[in-house]
Subunit: 730 residues, 2 copies
Amino acid sequence: MLNDRNWFVTEDCFDLNRQNHAETIFTIGNGYLGTRGAHEERYRGEERTTFIHGVFDDVPIVFTELVNAPDWLDLSLWLGGERFCLTEGEILAYQRQLDLRNGLLTRRVDWRSPAGMRWQLTFERFASLDNPHLVCQRVIIKALADSSLEVRSTLSGEADNLNYKHWDWIGQGIEGNRAWLHLRTRATGIELGTATRLIICGGSGYEQIGWDTRNAPTLVNRLEVKGGQTVEIEKITAFYTSRDTAEPQKAARQVLETLPERAWNDLWQSHARAWEREWDACDVLIEGDDRAHLAVRFSLFQLLAAASRQDERVSIGAKALSGYGYRGHVFWDTEIFMLPFFTYTRPEIARNLLSYRYHTLAGARQKARENGFKGAQFAWESAATGEEVTPTWVPHPTDRTKLIRIWTGDIQIHISADVCYAIWQYWQATADDEFMAERGAEIFLDVARFWASRAEWNAERGCYEFTDVIGPDEYHDHVDNNAYTNALARWNLITALEILTWLEGYRPHKAAQLKQQLELSEPELAHWREVAEKIYWKQDSQTGLIEQFEGYFQRRQIDLQALEPRTQSIQSLLGIEGASEANILKQPDVVMLAYLLPDLFDEKTLQANYEYYSARTDHTFGSSLGPAIHAIIACRVGKADEAYEHFMRAALADLEDVRGNAHDGIHAASAGGIWQAVVFGFGGLRFDPQGPTTSPCLPRHWKRLAFRLMYRGRRFEIDLTNPQATAGEG
Amino acid sequence: MLNDRNWFVTEDCFDLNRQNHAETIFTIGNGYLGTRGAHEERYRGEERTTFIHGVFDDVPIVFTELVNAPDWLDLSLWLGGERFCLTEGEILAYQRQLDLRNGLLTRRVDWRSPAGMRWQLTFERFASLDNPHLVCQRVIIKALADSSLEVRSTLSGEADNLNYKHWDWIGQGIEGNRAWLHLRTRATGIELGTATRLIICGGSGYEQIGWDTRNAPTLVNRLEVKGGQTVEIEKITAFYTSRDTAEPQKAARQVLETLPERAWNDLWQSHARAWEREWDACDVLIEGDDRAHLAVRFSLFQLLAAASRQDERVSIGAKALSGYGYRGHVFWDTEIFMLPFFTYTRPEIARNLLSYRYHTLAGARQKARENGFKGAQFAWESAATGEEVTPTWVPHPTDRTKLIRIWTGDIQIHISADVCYAIWQYWQATADDEFMAERGAEIFLDVARFWASRAEWNAERGCYEFTDVIGPDEYHDHVDNNAYTNALARWNLITALEILTWLEGYRPHKAAQLKQQLELSEPELAHWREVAEKIYWKQDSQTGLIEQFEGYFQRRQIDLQALEPRTQSIQSLLGIEGASEANILKQPDVVMLAYLLPDLFDEKTLQANYEYYSARTDHTFGSSLGPAIHAIIACRVGKADEAYEHFMRAALADLEDVRGNAHDGIHAASAGGIWQAVVFGFGGLRFDPQGPTTSPCLPRHWKRLAFRLMYRGRRFEIDLTNPQATAGEG
């Protein structure tokens, strides 16, 4: 629908000091794999990675991680006998550009070699969204004088994860213009087959050689070029794993055989069409704020590029497939922050992501059992199997005799409710009763059972409590009766009972089967109701304030303003203990709760809690999950300027690296939060029985906000204009 | 002097199930590098490693480790188009043999390929002792019918340490029959240059190709062979690091240029002569027990192969250069177990090894300071700098939330005295006053200062104590007044004062300079004397027993016999806590003390303590350091049979893998202990003012024991015969 200029992320100079940030920004992907934007030629300090969904392997300390697959970008160019390398010679012109419409990454370089020869090169790459096993490269080279060209392309099995190797060699080969490599992960035994084909057009005196070096089969091509002529290199690489097929190495070789002699154009067209369909379902238009508009599109692109369309046994990690941060582990980030975008625009993908939790129920049940509880307790960090993979101890940065204990995997229990919340939201948005009946209900019931077994009866107070937990605000651990956790647990128990009642009507046989399978008795269900009714909950009737956890109001008061300007988090400034003793939040649990369960908050309560907690939150260097949600609630309480400030803090986390950590990978939760801030915050979207409706609260300089939605099988276009828009940014 | 058959370690069948043990056994080295006995061609599960002394790099958990250098063994042979690999086709004959006289490792294979072609191959390799930067290989191949041969040799920069990578690529190249590679360690920035030359003689239609694959430059040679003819492959590889020279890559390439066209014979002759000189200084002859004789020679070979002759900034790790065990870290194993062999046969090497401690004094001083003490406290595990590198926490084998705290780096303090003991022993044996004056005295004085500051005054008892320590027996940690530690500390303080007095006479200027540099005052020296006189010491006047530490006699009594037969250590059986509460020893501190400071033990005391502790020691699966020392004291109390049993337990630890862990690398301390058991135990060697004298206690079936010694600059040959020898083993 929308044709405008805010589709291009551009880099205008070659700067190795920010190469890792640029690699994150220029990550491309197709839901099967993601590849950071390393250059074709190699540079010191690069993080040259391709992650394939579900390909995890064991590693010390963090237990398991997505494995860096063999690099498919490698192209070593010898121009007139000189190795093409931008740290040598002179760069006469340089531009790199990611086209968000289709994930085409283009680099244009005008280079004078150390010996003074001038070359113009254009590099292109994309990861096919049409056939996600294929990744494609093209290089167009123009020599300005007669010269020679040598092109080397290596499939290397030596890819490592920040020094750690996961691959064992099984086999390899070279046949004409094709090379293949067969590997296996060392601990998990996942096989990978990759094959590549290199074709060169133009030039003369063509010579094709294969270097069958062990674990690094290399295709070498030599030719003569005339000044002014162009040579075109086309390289297509295929990846399959034993998660996809029994003989991945065979599959990778075979798919290349089906390609025409020149494949780029066909592959490109079907790929671009696939992306067109994606944007057709979900694009957002912002007029009057190009910077925000580009950031929103960038966020959606990264989410679309990371979400599997074929595999419902994988989810999206906290850094998607774009960096080593959190090692590919899946957090509540997916359900609460990323999923709404998919639920309301690409529900098929949302269903896949939720099914990941269904397929990892065994891990969640094991975790509950090991902790002495019943039902299913989802892992705080989850990978291939759903087992808990949060690191328990990490090295202290300065004291070799000390370690830091990470408690989130033990006691950050709200995630189980978050998973259910996302299922419920999906069900509300799609009316996919089939999913709820066949998968969602089982999750809901077994998580409810966990909550009931985890609740502790306090006879003195006459209520059920959840003590020794961590809420979303991780500056405070080992707290009792966290408001967010308690409210979600109550909601989870009540909703599970409602779903069971619904299922007994909708599909009685399934309800009976589930009750039998889970051995659900009437007394147990009655106990759930009893727990839900009596969960500890406290709100100050005077002020309307909900205490984030018991004793929060007594924590040491810190004047946040007095600490500005800061370049690090409050936890870094005060230390783990110091931050825990203080009243500053990494992110505000009560504001988050107001977003998820708005019925708990009347207008006065919302206002009071927003004001109170907003002033006590580390917005700049606390959790990257907070700002987008803050923006939404700011809209609800009518603070458009504040909302915009929070929103831009989220929107620029990756593109402008405002938190200084984008080199670890994109902030995928924030990316999802940005969409929610646009749609539910500025757009003021809500769903009445009649369907979607809006109460917009647009930033004053936004002239127009338009977006698309799917709701209960129907497509909606929301188009909001702001006739009073002022001239503003962008 | 000695010409007999006990020089050959032989393997008669190809068995991948024990390949890692065989790699350890067939380790070769030249004091600059050590290379495990992996095959030229690759097999799954192999540990293909070359360690170069001093080349350490950072790694998680164990802090630093010797880095696996690029593999120089790699030779991939394509015989008539089929890849030579012993898991394919048929092995008609196989033998591998290490010649301990010169470290030549030979493998002879008669192989029928899968296609039925028959080939006879002889592989040879040695690491030049004459020029330790050179390692040499030769392969002689005989085709039994006309065929073709392709030889590939790769220098790969992808060597990893048990999955962990340490090398960054800097550069590489191929020039004719030579390839080179330039790398740098990732954290410590040590550069390595390696270059290799491949020459083939015989055959026809010779074609030479270079595959310049990144980080894996490969030399490829193709030729035709006639049936019955032999082809000879000669491959010479050079290694230099930035620890040796400013431009290691240049040095490695240049040294190859100095070689004649065929270099094997010259290199071999100078190498073999160098080994001849080594054995001339230290060989041991045992008649009547070939098994023991070979084991002794194997031990000495491994020590000689690991000891640097050029570099006094390195020592020998607990596994020498033969495996990943203890990651190349240096323990008291070197000073107390390995050094005497060098001190009494190759004092120049002993001096190098002791100088390592002199050069790491800064690390020892830092450790004392960080622990709140004065002087120099040597690291329990030491690497390049002398900083403490004992791992502090290691993962629990079964519980992901738990870690095991390793305390030895904190409180196993006896090592500082052990270092001084070895210096003193060296000084006694060599009369090297220069070393004592210029290096030894400084170490002695600063360690004495550590002991005086570490000693705790117990006013109630009126004595100085060392509480919360670990003695050599590591089953018991956090103990008070460990007999071994207290006695060595006292000895260290007294001897330091004696050495200072000596130095004031021998070289007054140096004594004055040291006192100034260390700010040694008379009151401080008086305090040392006071501490030494009043260190806690307790011996039961009735039984003569010395309690290993306070409260040891009250630990739970365990009947060792009742637990036999065992296949694991007492600590594995009872757990860390269980073993600590019990009275079984990993190795007997008091028996060890009786060996080092015999004057503390009259005959009755020696007898009583030997009997008592021997019955309470985990000889089979406790410390591998214990049996050799036990053998010596058994000889002193006249128990020749018991001595022999302990001795063989030590002697077979590697060759016959009696402890089941030789795959991690050789037991270098045990290897040194074996020599001491032979010389000081069975030989009964001691030093009178007139020189060496012996009181032999030979195993009954030994017909003759002969060995060589250096003592105060003079060479001695000891030749002991046993006219009553019975026919026995061997």
